[in-house]
Subunit: 140 residues, 3 copies
């Protein structure tokens, strides 16, 4: 499957996005969500749910809601033998959209930057979902 | 792989469930979880964590906890060359169970509707998980 | 693909971890996060967000943030034809690290047990992510 140009392209963008999520987890992890971690790091007063940490967590959760389905849709879509350039445009739009989404979330960029990034990234997902349904239904 | 009847059936139900999750995200997104979004849409008084939004978010989170593992288990199970009818029953029960779960959550249907839907949907997941473990262990 | 030794090994550890997540969900489910469930089970006073339930939920969420990406990275990595022993070491470290992480979370083991388990489990993930990127980039 890695010989498949579309699939290789899909794995590239997917892995970039997973690494982006790991980086977000590291940023979030700078705060202490559990009393025992705070105790070890200076005292209970550092145990907190502050707005910035909650912001990171919402960004991360939004990633889970959107990037994980992409990992599935993109893999199946790659098996449908799509045009390699069209496929890569799908993956690229999603990848850039999600990176802009995270930056807009963390830096609190002026609305509607974040929601536009979110919506743009959803377009290739809906496109791939419909193409998968169409491919299965025409086969049956 | 898309020539494989079981795998094609799996991709169909999986994609339906992912679209269901996207619809849930759109419903949740009608409320404003961030101050800057509320400001742009009529004022800070619309920034809220109201019980209905929290309900949507719990439903969505429960989907992530259950539908994402299904995407994995179903794909691997499809590769085990199961009986196509038995396999489709697995996928169909899960798909219907999860749709009922979401409806019961959002419309606050009388208990135990939602928890029954949840439990029924878990049955094919446990079945597939055990069959995967069995297939690997008998191979070793 | 199930004839592939590395892939079979990957599916084994992945399925173990998914079952671990299901068990965590069952533990969390002992509390009632929705008023209608509490009403059915003794009264509204059992509707609660207590610290132990929140702890289970954080453990489960952390699993989603880390185990789901592993399901993707491990599958792609298996397709890269890695050395079977090296591959199995990757999967085993991740699996053990995540089980220790859950135990440390639920039993509130002394810090830094949980964060060390988390970090150790991330090592094979970063390793696999980099190997995937390297494989794609050298192919282009």
């Amino acid at each position: 499957m890695m010989e498949n140009e579309v699939f290789a392209s899909f794995t590239f963008y997917s892995t970039i996005l997973i690494i982006k999520m790991y980086v977000l987890a590291i940023i979030t992890g700078q705060a202490f969500a559990n009393p025992e971690d705070a105790l070890r790091n200076g005292g209970l007063q550092y145990y907190r749910e502050d707005p910035d940490v909650e912001r990171c967590r919402r960004a991360h959760r939004n990633d889970m809601e959107n990037i994980f389905p992409f990992l599935f849709l993109g893999a199946i879509y790659s098996l449908l033998d799509p045009n390699p350039i069209v496929a890569r445009i799908h993956f690229l739009i999603f990848c850039v959209g999600r990176i802009v989404h995270t930056v807009a979330y963390l830096l609190q960029l002026k609305a509607p930057t974040r929601s536009v990034a979110y919506s743009v990234a959803q377009l290739p997902c809906f496109s791939m979902a419909l193409q998968i349904l169409f491919a299965v239904l025409t086969r049956w």
